[in-house]
Symmetry: C2
Subunit: 363 residues, 2 copies
């Protein structure tokens, strides 16, 4: 293998792929990035066996070939080099990386040992707008569970319903659902949230379209010159739609930043009580008040003006409330609930394509 690339391109590709490489695993080659010439281009790839990312860049190839080299060292090294042309020259399993001021030899492992994800065959293929997919994903992905004992909940559901693509995630304490655009294919796949986080990083400013290809084992996302393949989560996702309340005994409509600010302040006094805050909505005073008590440190009550229907109170985890409010970007938010034990709903009255449910705490 012998070729020339620009520092800018090589750096970009190493940044896309290196994060899935892992030096703490049992297989040393998984800490490496695969560098391979392909039709006068260069592909860089890394995998953790669940997820694989490949980035294609332009290169002036004078001799075909491939090698794997330590991802972190290569990434840090190329990132530190000045802009300009870098020569890669493979001798035995040593990769010579040269610029006018730097000569390096990076010890590699032959590419034959690098694990390859199985190909997707006979699956479905569809395209989605990158900008809206990215925004939706950011509003949903954090609600997935990190607890591997219930694998189903570690996934983000992509599902068409009445011809529209929906995204949903839940950790059983809260649930987020985003409605995206129309989709020609019928879709129902459960993608690991960790792969979705990697996809978010790759999406950059999200201007490209995303091509999605999947069978019932794996999904491939193609964005510009980057490909991400991940295995799917296996199993039946809970029928979450029936959890979303449609009517409320109590409803408050107020400025989103007002609710965000009073929740932030209250959460400081809720550290001792695992984030527990009590929200009281009073249609007479036209105020939403949020109260937290730290037995040792003190207590806080904060109020915000709101348009209110019905009065009532409910106890929530303030962290979930903050997550939900931060995921929204509208001027106003509607906060509705029924009983003390039933799910609360937050949504933006101007858009209504995003719904966020939080289960109450026992109070």
């Amino acid at each position: 293998m012998k070729l020339q690339v620009t520092q800018e391109n090589l750096n970009k590709a190493l940044n896309s792929v290196s994060r899935v490489a892992n030096s703490r695993g049992t297989l040393p080659i998984l800490a490496n990035v695969l560098i391979k010439t392909t039709n006068n281009r260069l592909s860089l790839a890394a995998t953790n066996l669940d997820i694989a990312i490949t980035h294609y860049i332009g290169a002036k190839v004078s001799e075909e070939g491939s090698i794997t080299v330590p991802a972190r060292l290569m990434q840090d090294f190329v990132n530190s080099l000045p802009e300009g042309v870098i020569s890669l020259d493979l001798k035995d399993s040593k990769l010579n990386v040269t610029t006018d001021k730097y000569q390096s030899v990076v010890n590699g492992i032959v590419a034959d040992d690098f694990p390859v994800m199985p190909a997707i065959s006979g699956g479905k293929k569809w395209t989605v707008d990158g900008t809206s997919f990215k925004k939706g994903l950011q509003q949903v992905v954090f609600a997935a569970s990190g607890d591997e004992t219930r694998p189903i909940l570690t996934g983000v559901l992509l599902q068409t319903s009445n011809g529209k693509l929906n995204m949903a995630a839940t950790d059983s304490y809260r649930l987020a659902e985003k409605q995206l655009s129309n989709n020609k294919e019928e879709v129902q796949i459960l993608v690991p949230a960790s792969a979705m986080q990697d996809l978010l990083r790759i999406l950059g400013d999200g201007e490209d379209n995303i091509q999605v290809t999947h069978d019932d084992q794996q999904v491939l996302f193609q964005v510009g010159d980057i490909e991400l393949v991940t295995r799917l989560v296996d199993g039946k996702y809970p029928d979450y739609k029936k959890l979303i309340p449609e009517k409320f005994a109590t409803e408050a409509r107020l400025k989103r930043t007002d609710l965000l600010n009073v929740t932030k302040v209250s959460s400081l006094f809720a550290r001792e009580s695992a984030g527990s805050v009590t929200i009281e909505v009073d249609s007479k005073t036209k105020q939403l008040s949020i109260r937290s008590v730290a037995s040792q440190l003190g207590e806080n009550t904060a109020t915000a003006e709101a348009k209110i229907t019905g009065s009532g109170s409910i106890t929530l985890n303030s962290r979930y409330l903050l997550d939900a409010l931060n995921a929204m970007d509208g001027e106003e938010v509607v906060f509705g609930f029924n009983g003390k034990l039933e799910p609360t709903l937050l949504f933006d009255p101007a858009v209504e394509d995003y719904k966020h449910i939080i289960m109450p705490l026992k109070s």
Copy 2:
């Protein structure tokens, strides 16, 4: 105690003092900040028994008094409040903190139990320009040791020599010395580097003059409305001046950013060898080259153009070299050394008020 302050002032004062409060110690009151009315002003103070910081702010006091409250909670809380007037009202040992939207009760501990640093009496008093003191401190303080088994080396030496104030710090592997302006008082004090780090934070943009008062036990720094008192380190500082070489067998003069860049890249390959890099200076090729070897990962050689007198090579810890180069800000740097075991010196040929020594590694 009953008074009104602005959120901005209270927030600023809490930010200055709260860092020395420590909730992990054995004395619970040391996690608190002392709030006290003093002549129609409000003082906020925190201490860890070695260092005490006090910040004075304006306030509309309607009832004198004092209390201590949890520093971290109070800081986070006031920081989250909107701009505007905050009312503080003490009832028993509970501090009521109120704005138009927020009502909080913060549980306090009576101020009588708060430890007070002894007063400085009959000491020396002098003033130094804040901007140059701050810059000098930043160039020196990181060279002090963090190892408490040799307390002397955890200090920053302030010493007058030929009427000029010098600052110096060393951890025995490297040494930094900065020459400041003329000083009317004869000074020789050893200030804990940790207190100097706190002082750096307080100095802000460093535009105020600093008033320094000290006896042989403690030093007081006064900057604007803030006071920092710290105990001094006791003991005789090594006579470091004789370590600074005055002539060199080998000397390279080059662009500081060039040396910084090649050192950065080399250090990536020096992770396995505890940062060890070998610098070779060759008067024939007019190049400085820096070489590092990672037995497992690979190796790197980087070169930079330099004006060179004498040839030779020396092995250094690349981290110390990076620290030194980052502490300097001139266009050029001179790098000089004698034998493989003697101290190397770095300095800016345009200024020469800053000297940085690094001891070589055995190679």
